[in-house]
């Protein structure tokens, strides 16, 4: 008997006429690791909530079809009993913690189940130990880092000892290290402790290989479910970006085997190229959007000279930072949490004043309240797009910024709405939009002044792969027009694909700065999956397009290996998913 059985499930959120889920039928076995992926609004989080019993109980709305859990219809199950069987961890760690102390938070669910004190003590102790939360057991939850908060959220669900763990994009708000930690715990829970795991995720390069089955959703429907390799092939065939780069690379080759990890990918690539391995450093064409202007002739837009900064009573956050960013550059700043990246951005826009050193924007030193002098020229997008949204309509949100700067040309509003594909939403309340759409509205609200300097703090956080690509191309176009783009991100794949220059920070210092191939190509840990795949085989390759370009001719020489049993010949770019995202 399957653990979950879903029959013809259709669901409408209250007040909507478009179904969030359409005629879903699905079975999930006990102990399975199911990965659910798809774009924003594809219905994956809604499906997770149905399986957790939150829809329609918490959300209301209209529901059709049936969902069975261990043979019984889920809606007939007592809520307490269901909570003992099915636990759910949500996307934002900040929005699921109730108590102010770590230990109390872990016990919260147990108190709700009415367990006796001895049982609670035992379970809390076990979970604290398993999740390695002892050092923060007595800590205030408000003082934990994002990663620790998500670990705590997971711990408080695990303490209830559910049979099934449903995770709704548990790593989307976390830095790579914290994300890895959460995924390792989930892997252990599935492999060593037999938990059934249903994970909704978009950071596929880290979890695709963990899944026994991948479920690809679009428009409220399941468009493919099967093994990771099958999922990759189908996504590539449909031109969808929801495939990790390594799998996409081989799926595009029509390879009979689609590897899902770098290790498998390298083995396969080496077997294809046996005896013909080109351990070369090819002359990868470097895209330069301002090739008509020589580097040294470009104007310096931001220049930091020996900048030091420390928060009052805190440690030094920035240590002797010197950086010169020129017009038309697209710079990605990478580094671990606490490396000082966001503080550096605040120094650049004049929100913070360095303790020592000087900051120049367009050659003029930024003084006290310096942001007032440069803000008309600067667009700054913080990590949380919701901080920007409070007007009645999307259009009003843009007009608000225009009014504040005394700008009247509505042509800018039209242009930016068009370029960010926001025209259909101009009369909608921004708070009614999806997270990806909100992100674009927030971006539009700061770009409407036509700034020459665009500074974005973690713009790809929680954004699906399709929208990420739209954003990346938009920023590349802006840089090509001569605007300066600076992006702080944890997303190495994004930086490798779209940025021109990469700055790496560690503990308040700049440890690497240069053209992206020079910085990321040499890094083992901060390099994209394609670069890891090609290391030692074809060095210097960072992106999917470069891999196609460099390895294509080599692989074309080995047609036999790349011909599927169907006799179909490998042709690059035959499916939409084979174009760079």
């Amino acid at each position: 008997m399957p653990l979950f059985k879903v029959e013809n499930l259709t669901y409408y959120y209250p007040g909507t006429e478009k179904p969030a889920l359409k005629n879903i039928s699905l079975e999930i076995r006990e102990g399975e690791f199911l990965l659910v992926t798809g774009g924003s609004g594809s219905g994956k989080s809604t499906l997770a909530r149905v399986l957790a019993g939150l829809i329609p109980d918490f959300y209301g709305g209209r529901i059709g079809g049936k969902v069975f859990f261990r043979g019984r219809e889920i809606r007939t199950l007592d809520r307490r009993k269901l909570a003992r069987e099915v636990g759910m961890v949500f996307q934002d760690p900040e929005k699921q913690i109730v108590q102010s102390c770590v230990e109390a938070e872990i016990a919260f669910g147990l108190e709700n189940l009415g367990l006796p004190p001895e049982e609670m003590s035992r379970r809390v102790a076990e979970v604290v130990s398993f999740m390695n939360l002892s050092p923060v057991q007595e800590a205030f939850t408000a003082n934990l880092s994002g990663g620790q908060k998500q670990k705590l959220a997971l711990a408080s669900v695990l303490a209830m000892q559910p049979r099934v763990l449903i995770l709704d994009e548990p790593t989307s708000q976390l830095d790579p290290v914290s994300a890895e930690e959460i995924l390792n715990v989930v892997k252990r829970l599935n492999e060593e402790m037999g938990f059934t795991v249903i994970m909704v995720e978009q950071r596929l390069e880290r979890c695709f290989h963990l899944a026994d089955r991948v479920l690809l959703m679009a428009g409220g429907e399941i468009i493919c479910h099967g093994s990771a390799a099958e999922g990759a092939r189908e996504a590539v065939r449909r031109g969808l970006p929801f495939v990790p780069p390594v799998a996409r690379f081989f799926a595009c080759l029509n390879s009979p085997v689609v590897p899902v990890t770098v290790k498998e990918g390298r083995e396969l690539l080496q077997s294809y190229l046996k005896g013909n391995i080109a351990v070369t450093k090819p002359d990868v064409p470097r895209r330069n959007h301002n090739s008509n202007i020589k580097e040294h002739e470009k104007n310096s837009i931001i220049s930091l000279k020996n900048v030091w900064f420390g928060y009052p009573g805190g440690q030094e956050v920035l240590k002797d930072i010197s950086l010169d960013i020129k017009e038309g550059e697209f710079v990605a700043i990478l580094g671990e949490n606490g490396a000082g990246k966001s503080t550096l951005l605040k120094i650049m826009v004049g929100l913070l004043r360095p303790g020592r050193g000087r900051v120049y924007v367009r050659g003029k030193e930024v003084g006290r309240n310096g942001f007032k002098e440069i803000r008309k020229f600067t667009a700054y997008l913080s990590q949380n797009p919701n901080d920007y949204l409070f007007q009645e309509t999307v259009e009003d949100e843009l007009l608000f910024t225009m009014r504040n700067f005394g700008l009247k040309d509505r042509g800018h509003v039209e242009e930016i709405l068009h370029r960010l594909q926001l025209e259909p939403y101009r009369r909608r309340n921004p708070r009614d939009l999806s997270s990806g759409e909100r992100q674009r509205v927030a971006l539009a609200s700061v770009l409407v002044t036509g700034p020459g300097l665009i500074i974005l703090d973690e713009p790809t956080r929680g954004v699906d792969l399709g929208l990420k690509s739209v954003l990346g191309h938009f920023l590349q176009e802006e840089a090509a027009k001569g605007k300066t783009v600076i992006v702080v991100t944890h997303d190495v794949e994004f930086a490798a694909e779209f940025a021109g220059r990469v700055v790496m920070m560690f503990a308040g210092r700049i440890v690497a700065d240069g053209e992206k191939h020079a910085v990321l190509g040499r890094s083992v840990f901060y390099s994209p999956q394609i670069s890891k795949l090609c290391r030692g085989i074809c060095d210097g390759v960072l992106t999917f397009a470069e891999a196609q370009e460099q390895l294509g001719p080599l692989l074309a020489a080995k047609p036999a290996a790349l011909i599927k049993s169907t006799g179909e010949k490998a042709i690059w770019g035959r499916a939409g998913g084979c174009t760079p995202h």
């Binding site: 934002d92 913690i97 709700n112 009573g313 919701n386 901080d387």
Partner: protein, 309 residues
């Protein structure tokens, strides 16, 4: 910026008491600060509190609390001599003022103002010590058996307050870069600018509230009768401290029956130290109240005591 005013777990001895013990102890201090008039007794309580605050590594936080109290203290000290006419020793003959009459300032009124201000500082220091000694979550936990839902609401508020302070700062920065000048314009214009700021905070908080509620529902909140997870442990140190508090209160009440701890300000101020018994009673009360301080010192320096408490 506000972090230092709130409880921070530092692993200190004074933070290891049972919350009920701390509540009783601080309540006794509060009662004594309210029933004592004698400036010397109030001063002794103030000094004891200063030592306790130092012991709990909270001089920074205390400074913050005192800054807030000093304004009130100055108001009391200035207004009291101006409006009280009961003092006999006039130190300054002022002009006649409508409604208030002749502004004669007496030495006794100044004394009374100073003693009242001292009482105010003592009370503020008690609240400061409360913030430094007790994890608010443990206090809430203490009451969750009797008022579970109210306690949960308070716990959520405690958790969300620092988050909201941070959010507000971030939203302000974002709006400043979108061209909003919070420090320019008349009162109405500024109010309008701030309303936008709070509007964002409110909208985001409401959305956050829905997500928190969903997470609570997913963890079976409201599915039936709850039990209470208690993390509070009663140790010998709590018994010593409770004993000390009750003995101090008893000694103080006994002393007050005989006038020790009372002080006459008007018409003529009493002697500060009338007799030896005034000091003896003060010493006894202070000794009992010093039990947590003595235990804390013993914990640090006496291995035997450390193993027993």
């Amino acid at each position: 910026m506000f972090d230092r005013l709130f409880y921070r777990e530092k692993g200190l001895f004074l933070q290891s008491f049972h919350p009920a013990t701390v509540l009783v102890y601080l309540l006794v201090l509060l009662i004594l600060s309210l029933i004592y008039d004698h400036p010397l007794y109030l001063l002794a309580l103030f000094l004891l509190l200063a030592l306790l605050i130092r012991e709990v590594d909270g001089l920074d936080a205390w400074e913050g609390f005192l800054k807030a109290g000093v304004f009130l203290m100055l108001v009391v000290m200035m207004v009291n001599p101006l409006v009280i006419r009961a003092g006999k020793t006039i130190i300054w003959h002022g002009p006649a003022v409508p409604f208030l009459g002749k502004l004669d300032i007496s030495m006794e009124a100044v004394y009374f103002g100073a003693a009242s201000s001292l009482r105010l500082l003592v009370i503020i220091s008690i609240f400061c010590l409360y913030n430094l000694m007790i994890n608010p979550d443990k206090i809430l936990n203490l009451f969750s058996r009797v008022a579970g839902k109210s306690v949960l609401v308070m716990s959520l508020a405690t958790r969300l307050f620092p988050t909201m302070v941070r959010d507000l700062q971030r939203i302000r920065e974002v709006q400043q870069l979108r061209g909003v000048d919070f420090d320019t314009g008349n009162l109405w214009q500024r109010a309008k600018k701030y309303s936008g700021l709070y509007n964002v905070l409110l909208l985001s908080s409401l959305e956050g509230a829905m997500e928190i509620a969903e997470s609570m529902q997913a963890r079976a909140f409201g599915s039936g009768r709850r039990s209470v997870y208690s993390r509070n442990i009663l140790r010998p140190r709590d018994l010593f401290c409770l004993g000390g508090s009750l003995l101090a209160l008893s000694a103080a009440v006994w002393g007050l029956r005989y006038g020790y701890g009372r002080y006459t300000f008007y018409p003529e101020a009493d002697f500060l130290i009338k007799d030896g018994a005034t000091l003896a009673v003060l010493f006894i009360v202070l000794f009992y109240l010093s039990v947590p301080l003595i235990l804390s010192k013993g914990w640090k320096h006496c291995r035997f005591l450390k193993s027993k408490i």
